[in-house]
Structures are given as C-alpha cells and as structure tokens.
C-alpha cells in the first residue's frame, strides 16, 4: 500500500473542505433549523406521535440521512470531477497508486465530510428536540456505511459526468426524490396499502428505516434487511470502481 499517497489525497481533499469550513458548518445548521421550524413546529404540532415518538424527534434520523446522502454524493463527485475538469487528473493517473488507494483518499475524505455534517445536524437537532439513541453502536455503523457507500456512488458519478450538468443530474433527478420518498419525514405505514408495497422498491427506505431503528427501536423493514441493503450497495459501488480503474473507463483513453 502506498500510504503516503493515500494521506496526500486525503489531506488535500480535506484542506479544500476546511478552506470553506464556515459554509460547510453553517449551511447544514440553517437548513436543519428550517426543517424543524416547518415540519417540527408548524406541521408537527398537529401530528401527535408517529410509532410512539414525537414527530419532531421522528424526523431527526431522516433529516440526518437526507443531508448525509446528498453531501457524500456531492463531495465525492465534485472531488474527482474537478481534477478531470481542470486537467490535474493527469497526475493521479501517472502516480504509482491503485484503485483502493485512490478510493481511500478521495472517498475517505468525502465520507469524512458527510460524517461531519451528520454530526452537526444531530447536534443542532438535539437543541430542538429530546433525542434518545437506543442502539448507539448500530447508529454509528449505519451512519458510517451510509457516508461510505454514498461517497462511493458520488465518486462513480464524478467519473461518469462529462460536464457540470451531468454532475447534478443524478443527485437531482434520482437521489433527492428517492430520499424524500424514502420515509425521511413519515413512516411508510402512513401510506395507502398499494404505496406501502411500491415504496419497498426504493433502496433508501431500507437505509432510513435501519437508521431510525437505531434511534427509536422501531422500523418499517427488518433491521437485518437494512444492513444487508447498505452492505450490498457498498459492495456494488466498490465493484464498479474497481472495474472503472481496471478498464480506465472515462478516465484513461
């Protein structure tokens, strides 16, 4: 392993993050606060409880997931797309590094940033509502795996994208709808029966359900299935990246 390279890539990516630390910190705090004002106070006050949890607390895991997924994707996709765009990718391609090292450096940094934001949101949310975490170990595991797998997915998008529009396309058209419809703000038991079935095709449902279980002990789908889904998604993305580096798809002519 070329650990010096892994650390160089990781530190370089994190430096970019710290250059804009104020935005990185303030924007999730503000957006979380807004969600609490709108969903927690205005709408939530008219909803009693969901599965025995106050609505304000119920949406916390979904809110964290929503931000972590979108942040992991946007950080990782931009992280690898930017060198492609400005041409500095030449250095990465000519360096003595393999796919695992690049992934550890770039995806590791993107996942760290997403994790940071997840923790900030959890902290902000705890100012608004009382949060109990029943399974802290599982909570951390779900959070880490979500950061990792969505950063991997973002990395693939960054390599696939040939312009800035494409970079935004999948997060905007696929991820955001899936996350919103994945039970961030509701339990799927609140849906009409037919939609309860259809929504099971949405992979994000499993992630949010598992994550919420680690907080409140209640879940829409069995927690084992959630863990399997996130592990499978991680493996799938790793496989795709391994293939990309082996064939040089979209990076090496």
């Amino acid at each position: 392993m070329n650990w010096a390279a892994v650390s160089a890539m990781y530190v370089s990516e994190m430096t970019r993050f710290f250059r804009t630390i104020a935005q990185s910190f303030i924007s999730p705090v503000i957006s979380t606060s807004l969600y609490f004002v709108v969903f927690g106070a205005a709408i939530g006050s008219r909803i009693d409880q969901v599965e025995g949890v106050s609505y304000g607390a119920f949406i916390v895991p979904g809110l964290i997931m929503l931000s972590v997924m979108t942040q992991a994707i946007s950080n990782a996709s931009f992280g690898i797309y930017f060198p492609k765009f400005i041409g500095t990718i030449y250095e990465l391609l000519s360096a003595p590094v393999n796919f695992l090292e690049v992934v550890l450096g770039f995806v590791g940094a993107a996942a760290t940033k997403a994790l940071f934001i997840g923790v900030v949101i959890l902290g902000t949310a705890s100012l608004f509502v009382d949060i109990q975490i029943q399974h802290p170990f599982a909570m951390v595991l779900f959070l880490l795996l979500t950061c990792l797998s969505f950063a991997l997915f973002g990395f693939i998008i960054g390599i696939w994208a040939q312009n800035f529009e494409q970079l935004q396309l999948i997060p905007l058209l696929v991820i955001t709808p899936l996350v919103f419809l994945g039970g961030s703000f509701y339990s799927i038991s609140m849906l009409p029966p037919i939609w309860q079935k259809i929504t099971l095709f949405n992979p994000v449902v499993y992630l949010i359900s598992g994550f919420r279980w680690s907080f409140f002990g209640t879940a829409d789908v069995p927690v084992g299935l959630s863990l399997l889904a996130i592990a499978g998604f991680t493996a799938l993305c790793m496989g795709a990246i391994w293939w990309i580096f082996r064939t040089g798809w979209r990076i090496r002519s």
């Binding site: 010096a4 990465l92 391609l93 360096a95 003595p96 393999n98 002519s253």
Partner: protein, 309 residues
C-alpha cells in the same frame, strides 16, 4: 550506457480508430537528454502519455528502469516525473502544498527540506505561500516542474516545456535541465523548435504520423538540418559537369537543364559567390536561381524511403 526506458513496437489506436502510434521502438539511455521533434499531432504527447500511464497502450511493451509500465506500474511510475503540456494546476492550492502533494502521491514520505530545495532551485521560494491562481503563466510552468521533481524522479518527461514561455524562463529551464542531467536524471523533452533540441539535447528523435522516423546524435543531425540547396537553371542544357567545377558538391538535374548545389548554411562560407564566378568562367549561362531548405519532414520522409528501398 544502459537503457532506462525501453519501448518495443508500441502501438496506440484510439477508440475512434485513429492510430496515434504506429509501432514505435526506442531505447532511451540512462542519463541522456533526448529531444523528440515533430509537428503538432505527430504522436509525441501520446507517446509520453502511454509511457507515463495516462493512456493505455493498444499493443507493444514499455519498460522503465526494467519495470513494465502496465504490469509493474508502481515500480515504473515511481521513477517518472512528468511535466505536462497543459497548465493543469489546482488554482486555490498554495505552491508549497501543491509540490508536497505530488511528493506524497508518488509514495515519498514528507520532506520539507527536499521541497524547499526544489522551490529555491526553480526560483519559486518567494512564492511558496502564494496560491497558484495568483501566479503568472511562467511561474505556473515552474510549479509544474517542481511538482514533477518533488519525488526525485530518475526519468523526467517534459512535454513542450517552452511552448508559450518567455526567453528568460526558457533559459532558466535549460539551466535546470543541465543541472538535472549532471545529477544523472534522464530527460525526454518534446518540442517543435529545432533550436531547442539543438541547445540542450544529446540525441534527437524525429516523430511524425505516429512513426519514429529517426533517432540520431544531435551533432550529426544538425549537420544535415543545416543543409540547403541552390538550383541553378541553365540557358543551354549541359551533358556533364565541367571539370573545373569538380570541387563543388554539384549534381546535374532536369536532364541537364539545371545544376543543384548543396551547401551548409552553418559553414563559414557557403561558397556561392565563388561557384557563380566559376560557372561563368566555365561558360555556363544562368537563367534562374532557386534556393531551397528541406523541411524537417522532407528530410526524414526522404530518409525513411531510402531505408525502405
């Protein structure tokens, strides 16, 4: 001297079907400066990119320091420093961070003293804390070189290092190249300026249309490149070159209608004045004069045809 870079029948066909390299075979000796001359689109950058791992070869073999660039890419790439043609730099990074990053990427442990030395050598010391975006074009070029040197490579590729660079920087660059050569670094540079090859190279390779037309010691090549021809068209055709003109490098062309004189523009005297006097003395009447300098391409296409015949 042993070969540090060995290229065997290297071919590159791009997805669109364009054949950028048509079977290049070349041995680059350890410690030499090799200039690859050729027009735009000749395949110079593709050749370098393939050696450095940016482009996949379609067939053939390349080893650097004995390591196959595909199978043993770690060993091969660790030895290589690359200065690309394009000014590809992350704009918001500080100069010294950009250089340290490259060192790490190539697997070397952090060494501030080594980085400082390179920054001083390239006159970047004063700018070490400046962001890349604040630098002039020439300074950015220096940063690219500093990045390529950060991991103390054994082989340095400079892809058109002086394209669009001012005279001062060009001179500085040649000094750096000379210093690196003294340290035993092998340097391969591409250029389309003959003067540049002449100033610093030990050997010159000419590449065109994806083929390596020739590799020759610089001195021998420059003699050939300095040659020019003077075509003297005669009023009356002649059957043979008069005896009195035997001392000149003359040849009879166009069925005796003209004489062709080959001379060296680098010599102290081209001998034209004397020749024209001797022609009149020999009773040959001139109708027209025409001088011609063979282009690089002409010369080597000719040479390749000769070789194939």
């Amino acid at each position: 001297m042993t070969a540090i870079v060995d290229i065997r029948d290297l071919r590159k066909v791009y997805d669109g079907g364009f054949e950028a390299l048509k079977g290049i075979t070349l041995s680059i000796r350890e410690g030499e400066i090799l200039a690859l001359l050729g027009p735009n689109g000749a395949g110079k950058t593709t050749l370098i990119s393939t050696i450095c791992g940016i482009t996949n070869p379609s067939s053939g073999e390349v080893t650097v320091g004995g390591f196959d660039v595909v199978e043993q890419y770690r060993g091969a790439r660790s030895l290589i420093g690359l200065v690309p043609q394009e000014m590809s730099l992350e704009p918001f990074t500080k100069v010294k961070d950009a250089v340290s990053y490259s060192r790490g990427l190539f697997g070397k442990p952090r060494d501030d003293a080594a980085i400082d030395k390179i920054l001083k050598q390239l006159s970047l010391w004063d700018k070490r804390n400046a962001r890349v975006v604040e630098l002039s074009g020439g300074m950015k070029r220096r940063v690219l070189i500093a990045k390529a040197l950060s991991h103390e490579p054994k082989v340095l590729f400079l892809d058109e290092p002086t394209a669009g660079v001012d005279v001062e920087l060009r001179k500085d660059m040649w000094d750096v190249v000379a210093e690196l050569k003294a340290q035993g670094v092998t340097i391969i540079l591409t250029t389309h300026y003959i003067e540049e090859a002449e100033a610093i190279a030990d050997r010159v390779g000419v590449i065109n249309g994806g083929q390596l037309l020739l590799v020759e010691e610089k001195d021998a090549l420059m003699r050939r490149l300095g040659q020019k021809t003077l075509q003297i068209e005669l009023q009356e055709p002649t059957q043979a070159i008069p005896e009195t003109l035997a001392g000149y490098d003359l040849e009879l062309v166009s069925e005796g209608q003209a004489l062709r004189y080959t001379y060296d523009t680098r010599g102290e005297s081209t001998g034209i004045t004397r020749l024209l006097g001797d022609l009149s003395a020999a009773g040959l009447q001139m109708r027209d004069l025409l001088t011609e300098q063979s282009s690089l391409e002409d010369i080597f296409v000719g040479l390749v045809k000769e070789g194939a015949a």
